[in-house]
């Protein structure tokens, strides 16, 4: 038996508008820019819903209807769910319709897409619980598989998830960790005792879809579902192909014109044609498959960049200063019992804010290598820190 494990990650942050020194203490509006502004979350969610969420969900529902064996897994952050509720309810409904088929598993994570696991374990648990609650409320599921923000993973995280009762956890299938082993098996994280399984992303196959699909200079272009399933078919031993990617791959990173939707729709048709081939959700594959080996990850790995570390979020001093400042006021914020204040503080924890401050590529002039609503990383830092000053003042005032 060979299974495709398709897992899509849905997320949008509450971007901080260009909040100036003069806004501090005069308005607490950090996240709601004018509609035409580059940082307008409402405008961006409208665009992404129209280009990606709604058309992709249409295809996925059709695929689920046509193929009883087709399954997939989704993670949806609390911050994007709130934005869908506010500004794109029809997109939210389309996700709910998908999950209502009973063949879509929702993966657990932090509500705010934060790096809290690295900074504050209590806060981390709070956010995971909050996410669990909104998933139950909107989708009627309780997650049994966990993924941490940016797929940041180490032994500690696996141990925590194992103790918390999760059956599976996701990580990057990074070569220095895997060594001679293949990502196409199920593993057990070192030092775990309750039987949690580790699924490692096959980044080569995933990136063929997520990054290279529309690249006409790629020697494999154009990629068809037939060719892709042929590769899987000929990839030797293995029980599961972990295709993990951003949901926005479909329609946003890869435009409709690239043929990405047709590729998606044809994938099950070609894959399921062969006896013994199927699709599984993340928990299904973990439960159905024996662990091939133990995987030891003492240091944090992520799914980003060639380094697969945290340097895109915490690599420079602006990023470190900003996140340290944020967690340094936790006690005053939580102690305030002011829900709006606490929520603003948590929205600032979303990892994207620190990503926008990344200068790794900036000096090479390759500023388009990532999507940022700011002119440059310095503007992102200034807006964030000004919001922080206001937040601190509010926390003190209570």
């Amino acid at each position: 038996m060979k299974s495709i494990v398709l897992y899509l990650h849905v997320h949008q942050p509450f971007r901080v508008r260009n909040y100036s020194v003069f806004d501090i203490n005069s308005t607490h509006n950090y996240f709601f820019a004018d509609y035409q502004d580059r940082t307008s979350n409402e405008r961006i969610i409208h665009k992404v819903a129209a280009k990606s969420y709604i058309p992709t969900n249409e295809r996925l529902v059709k695929m689920l209807e046509e193929h009883p064996e087709f399954r997939l897994s989704l993670s949806i952050t609390g911050t994007v769910l709130e934005q869908l509720q506010m500004w794109a309810p029809e997109a939210l409904t389309s996700f709910q319709r998908l999950v209502a088929t009973g063949r879509v598993e929702i993966v657990g994570e932090t509500y705010h897409h934060s790096l809290a696991f690295l900074y504050d374990r209590d806060e981390f648990v709070q956010q995971v619980e909050r996410h669990k609650a909104i998933v139950l409320e909107l989708f009627g599921q309780t997650p049994t598989c966990f993924r941490n923000t940016e797929l940041a993973y180490n032994n500690d995280l696996a141990y925590w998830a194992d103790q918390a009762g999760y059956k599976a956890i996701l990580a990057e299938g990074w070569d220095p960790i895997l060594g001679w082993r293949s990502p196409n098996f199920v593993y057990q994280p070192s030092y775990t005792t309750n039987g949690i399984k580790l699924l490692m992303k096959n980044y080569k196959l995933s990136d063929d879809i997520a990054f290279r699909f529309g690249d006409r200079n790629w020697e494999q272009w154009p990629l068809t579902a037939e060719k892709f399933t042929h590769w899987l078919d000929n990839s030797g031993d293995g029980t599961n192909f972990n295709l993990f990617m951003d949901y926005e791959t479909f329609g946003e990173h890869q435009w409709k014109e690239s043929g990405i939707f047709d590729f998606l729709e044809h994938l099950p048709r070609h894959w399921l044609a062969k006896e013994g081939y199927d699709f599984k959700t993340v928990t299904q594959v973990a439960e159905a498959t024996e662990a091939a080996d133990n995987i030891d990850v003492p240091h944090i790995i992520t799914w980003a960049d060639t380094e697969r570390d945290l340097s895109a979020w915490l690599g420079n001093r602006m990023q470190q200063e900003a996140i340290d400042a944020l967690y340094s006021i936790k006690e005053q914020v939580i102690g305030s019992y002011d829900n709006e204040l606490i929520e603003d503080w948590r929205r600032l924890q979303t990892s994207d804010h620190f990503y926008y401050m990344c200068t790794k590529w900036f000096n090479d002039g390759d500023i388009h290598a990532y999507f940022s609503p700011y002119e440059n990383p310095y503007e992102a830092y200034i807006a964030f820190m000004n919001a922080w000053h206001d937040l601190r003042l509010r926390a003190e005032a209570v």
Partner: protein, 394 residues
């Protein structure tokens, strides 16, 4: 008089100094025609302002900026500072021929070639007024070699040179080997009557709130360029935060070092203490002086430096770099070498910790400020005009 900017189209202190100087000169019965390189309808009751080109001041650069122009689509719009300088020079011919003059008084290198052309046409003496040298703007390096050449040519061929400070006079001698007796010092000043009163509602509301919580606010206002010494200043700020954690530093201005300075404040671990307000004019610019407990001018090389005088106009004491002209005329402030970050930090801490020290300095500086005016400078220049006008006539 050949100038480059006047408020409100000024990028820095040059325009303010020219305007106030001319107002003071006009009281001495001098008839002044002031040429600017952009289109203006500005008229004052004390001088005539003449446009050398039809370009809007908004598409043109300030006197000390180095970025390229934006192409507005018409052929005649200059694409760099040298093209504009050339257009200014060309138009001087018709301006010079259109009227009679006694003295050509020219402000900084951008107008020096035009002044030389005017001198050739009119046969009248040329006085070169130095507000800033290329080596000041380049942080004591040679800077742009073409600018250096123009500056050299202008200063060599001028009938007399006026420097805004002894500091600048010494630099002219050192940079260009001009004999010291060809250079007079005419200190810039400030016209207390021109100060716009402080607004009771300060735009830096956050800083007011933090002051109520025991924080002190240290302010710097100026272009974020190498000349202004802000790298050393931030090093000093980090030391101050160690000693006085409840200190906030407001930096008002923009410039090519902006990104570097933002990153540096984070690298020093004082990102939570330094606020960047960007370029501001008018009320927000004045309010920065008002909200400050202390103003710091840390320049590497500042020919004059008006901002400490503006700070005291709003009751704020200053620490000024010894490498500045203002340090020569402003007695009641603390003075430090721009490179001595330890001394700079300890001076800032002393001013913030000892209210009696700050109060004493403020009180005396206010009294000193009240006596300031441009009259002495105007008188000196008036005599200089007379001397040279008669010399050439003879």
């Amino acid at each position: 008089m050949l100038g480059w900017e006047l408020p409100p189209h000024n990028s820095g202190g040059l325009g303010v100094a020219c305007l106030q100087l001319c107002r003071a000169l006009s009281k001495r019965n001098l008839d002044i025609k002031f040429v600017v390189p952009y289109a203006t309808s500005m008229q004052t009751d004390f001088m005539h302002v003449i446009s050398a080109t039809p370009h809007s001041p908004h598409v043109l650069l300030g006197a000390y900026e180095s970025a390229g122009y934006k192409d507005s689509g018409t052929d005649n719009v200059p694409q760099n500072i040298f093209q504009l300088e050339q257009q200014y020079l060309t138009s001087i011919e018709s301006i010079a021929k259109g009227s009679s003059y006694d003295v050509i008084h020219s402000h900084d290198w951008l107008t020096f070639r035009a002044a030389l052309r005017a001198k050739a046409i009119l046969g009248k003496p040329f006085i070169a007024h130095v507000h800033s040298l290329e080596s000041d703007r380049a942080g004591n390096k040679i800077g742009n070699t073409l600018v250096h050449e123009i500056e050299y040519m202008g200063l060599m061929n001028a009938d007399h040179i006026v420097a805004v400070s002894g500091f600048t006079k010494d630099k002219i001698v050192a940079d260009y080997g001009i004999p010291a007796d060809k250079i007079s010092v005419a200190h810039n000043s400030i016209d207390p009557t021109a100060i716009v009163p402080a607004d009771p509602f300060n735009s830096y509301d956050y800083l007011e709130q933090m002051k109520l919580r025991g924080y002190k606010v240290v302010v710097n206002v100026g272009r974020l360029t190498v000349q202004k010494g802000l790298h050393n200043y931030l090093d000093a700020c980090a030391r101050v935060v160690n000693a006085q954690p409840k200190t906030l530093f407001l930096i008002v201005g923009s410039g090519e070092l902006e990104h570097e300075l933002i990153a540096k404040s984070a690298e020093l671990g004082i990102g939570r203490n330094v606020l960047f307000a960007g370029f501001q004019r008018g009320k927000r610019w004045r309010d920065a002086f008002v909200i400050a407990d202390l103003f710091v001018l840390p320049s590497l090389s500042e020919p004059f430096g008006l901002t400490p005088l503006e700070a005291i106009a709003y009751g704020t004491p200053s620490i000024v770099s010894k490498q500045s002209g203002v340090a020569e005329v402003f007695k009641n402030c603390l003075k430090v070498d721009n490179w001595d970050t330890e001394k700079m930090a300890s001076s800032i801490v002393s001013m913030l910790r000892h209210q009696n020290l700050a109060d004493e300095i403020t009180l005396n500086a206010l009294a000193e400020f009240e006596t300031m005016n441009w009259d002495k400078t105007a008188e000196m220049l008036g005599k200089l005009y007379e001397h040279h006008a008669s010399k050439v006539a003879a």
